[in-house]
Symmetry: C2
Subunit: 482 residues, 2 copies
């Protein structure tokens, strides 16, 4: 039997874990300094919590967990109620019919397939961290003091078709502030995004947009219900050019007049201030649009004072999350790598309404660990210390030498130095190649001479240099060169 | 709609997370200093990897994940092969029969229920970290240098009946050394267990036993195949007393003569040395038993030199994991709390044999985070610093004051001090009660006077004391009192 893992999932080796933990630790440390507090929610949520929250496509991508025990119980019960005279042939003489399942289903008929899935499964794996967070806020509303600044770093699961860079299990790192509509929160998040990427050494551009501006645009060209069509087309400007964008808009059914009015928006350019000035003219008749402009101006002005390291750009083509974002929209792109968005977020006005708690506004940001990993790899930005495991290996020459070494090893570990004794008295060559394979920078040799003199031979594996050190000298060397 | 979570699962609040992270961080730090390296494996494994590894009972407790897309496909395909003439009534005129599922199943018949589950589901949630680790070692054998010291801290899922202290989702923290049978590894783990609990401030007794001693005992009383019966009964000595243990042994079918010969073992007492001496006499005719004694003596002798803080006890009643442990067995009990085992482990000689890679011996230890949490709570041992979130809250009096405060906040955060600005210019009282509810120790007030003088009012929330500080003084106070 050759073991394997489900497609779209991954094992992480120690070397990969070291790099991933460097990313997670950096993000977590920044989250803490910005006053965010961690929560965790279960991997499994009730399907009633998850279904209908991610659109029809999302429902299909939920991993469903088979009810434990007799998973046909619910299928039967429902059949008994609806169609109690139906009895399966072989069972009738042996058991009460409720123990039996007789199932006729056209499995190419998705509504009946969905119905059956809902009878077989009550639970599903979480699809993102936002819906579980909304559920959390509602369930724990009496314990939470608003505004609530929470972060969450946990895996999510999606039954997407796996492909390069897209996995069925991946971590999300989310930070949200809920219970206030203060724009200072948006400013806080922009600044935090900047702090995270500065700490990681990645130069980024933070793209900012506002749902209200997009709504205003759709409104003033008389196409209020075509927001998504418009932004999807505009978003392609860089890739396909103006003519093709206009063609696509026409194809999507926008009248020529509306497309005409849209031109100054599609071609909007200049500094952020100039863009805002143009927009203020174009959207003069849309109160929503004007509010979006005012919000964006506030966010850009305050942020530019606090975030000198990152580019902040007003980007009208930014149209992520239009299903839920109601105000600011953020997206972060690495300047020195071709990677798409490595972080994003926005404001949603009614996070918890769907669970019966209206009026809770929130704004959040999510960091994409996998893409950040790829950027750091491309740009060779992982610091060497972050990927180091064991620092000192003691060679094992036999029982006596091992016994002599153990207290020294204990001493090093107490001082926080990651130290191992090779467990077997194998050939020196084998032990040295273990040190090499593990990337252990220092090897300590304790033989007869060393035990007599009390000075161990310490070999720097990179330079090959050997020195003779007492246990105390070794500890002090390992704790000061750190 | 009132949201809820699946039974047996939990949300973790910020306060709980702080305490849990204190435990995980402590254990992780110790793992690193002992040269262990982290890996992670997917939450979902193929059911073929998991099934049959945890006994029949374990198979039932696996959470199975419904195949995505048309989950009836495999049910149909198999039916088509086996019983191709069977066509469901309503489908015959509309679709090819392979799109339809006609299912007659007696759901009280578990073999056919299991067969159906295997058709509906190919994946399951991991049940422990050991089997995925074994699978990992086999899959990645070409990348791994043995001996391999790995740790893993991830949740596992079991469809157990939820009850007090038993959850359907819980974290395991495992450290294992595989690829060597050196007893120095057992010594390393005993020492590491001691280091972890010293760091947490929990006084423990480390109980040690050896599968080979138990086998030797069963052998010399002529009941080699009754190992489990014997140890289950012996294990109850403390609870039910000698007479009842003997009665239970008789009930389990042990002959009177065997029970008679077992008495010196059941009543074994004295120091570890005395116990070993008695055992050496009783097991004189069992080579396996004598090897178990020699191994145990080595582990106890070496450990007692390195682990002065913890009690180490030879405990023959310790009989956990007899399905897989082949040598040393460990179990850790808190001395000052009634809690049962808070950590345990042992040596298994053939971890990866089941996946086609024989001859890989390993020894490991697992820490029970939930029980450790309960012990620390009972004994009030969580350090105050470990549970502190935000350290400084800036009160918000309006735009001007907020704008004045933001650069100071940035300065504090850069110095690593967790700092927030209250996002709204709400009433002072509301902002102060937010600080109280969050347990924030310092509140900074910036009003007109403070902006003019450049000295902020800093209130110590515990003492109520107020001081006037410049931004630099505030940063230096926050970073030195840490």
């Amino acid at each position: 039997m050759k073991p394997s893992i489900p497609k779209g999932t991954r094992d992480f080796s120690p070397a990969e874990m070291a790099k991933r933990n460097y990313i997670f630790d950096t993000i977590r440390r920044v989250f803490y300094t910005y006053g965010f507090q961690p929560i965790e929610t279960p991997a499994m949520e009730n399907l009633s919590t998850l279904m209908g929250k991610y659109g029809e496509e999302g429902d299909k991508l939920l991993f469903k967990v088979l009810n434990s025990g007799n998973f046909l119980e619910k299928v039967n019960r429902e059949k008994d109620t609806k169609n109690s005279e139906q009895i399966t042939p072989e069972s009738s003489d042996r058991k009460p019919s409720s123990d039996n399942c007789s199932l006729f289903i056209d499995s190419s008929d998705s509504p009946s397939l969905n119905r059956l899935a809902a009878q077989l499964c009550e639970k599903g794996l979480r699809y993102d961290l936002t819906v579980p967070f909304a559920r959390y806020v509602v369930m724990h509303r009496d314990e939470i003091t608003l505004p609530f600044r929470r972060f969450q770093m946990q895996p999510v699961w999606r039954a997407d078709r796996p492909q390069r860079g897209r996995y069925r299990e991946f971590y999300q790192c989310d930070a949200d502030i809920v219970g206030t509509d203060s724009l200072l929160c948006e400013v806080d998040l922009v600044q935090m995004i900047n702090t995270v990427f500065c700490a990681l050494g990645i130069r980024v551009a933070i793209h900012v947009n506002n749902r209200k501006i997009l709504s205003g645009i759709a409104e003033v060209i008389g196409q209020a219900d075509r927001l998504v069509d418009i932004t999807v087309a505009i978003d392609k400007l860089d890739k396909i050019g103006l003519d093709n964008v206009n063609a696509e808009l026409a194809e999507r059914g926008l009248p020529a007049e509306a497309i005409e009015r849209l031109q100054p928006i599609i071609l909007l350019s200049g500094t952020d201030d100039e863009k805002l000035a143009t927009l203020r003219q174009v959207l003069a008749d849309s109160p929503t649009g004007l509010q979006g402009i005012a919000e964006t101006e506030f966010i850009l002005k305050k942020s530019s004072l606090l975030v000198p390291d990152s580019e902040i750009i007003l980007d009208l083509t930014l149209a992520r999350g239009l299903n839920y974002y109601t105000g600011a929209i953020f997206e972060v792109k690495a300047l020195d790598a071709e990677m798409g968005s490595i972080s994003g977020g926005g404001r949603y006005d009614n996070l918890t309404g769907i669970f019966g708690l209206p009026g809770v506004s929130g704004v959040g940001v999510s960091f994409g660990a996998d893409r950040i990993y790829d950027v750091l790899t491309q740009l060779d930005l992982f610091p060497k210390e972050a990927t180091e495991g064991t620092r000192v290996l003691f060679v094992n020459f036999g029982d006596t030498e091992a016994a002599w070494s153990l207290p020294v090893i204990t001493h090093l570990r107490k001082a926080g130095v990651a130290t191992e004794l090779y467990p077997d008295a194998s050939k020196m060559k084998k032990q040295m190649s273990y040190a090499n394979a593990r990337g252990i920078p220092f090897v300590v040799i304790v033989g007869e001479e060393e035990m007599t003199s009390g000075r161990m031979t310490v070999k720097d594996m990179q330079t090959g240099e050997q020195t003779k050190l007492t246990p105390d000298e070794l500890v002090s060397m390992m704790t000061t060169t750190d």
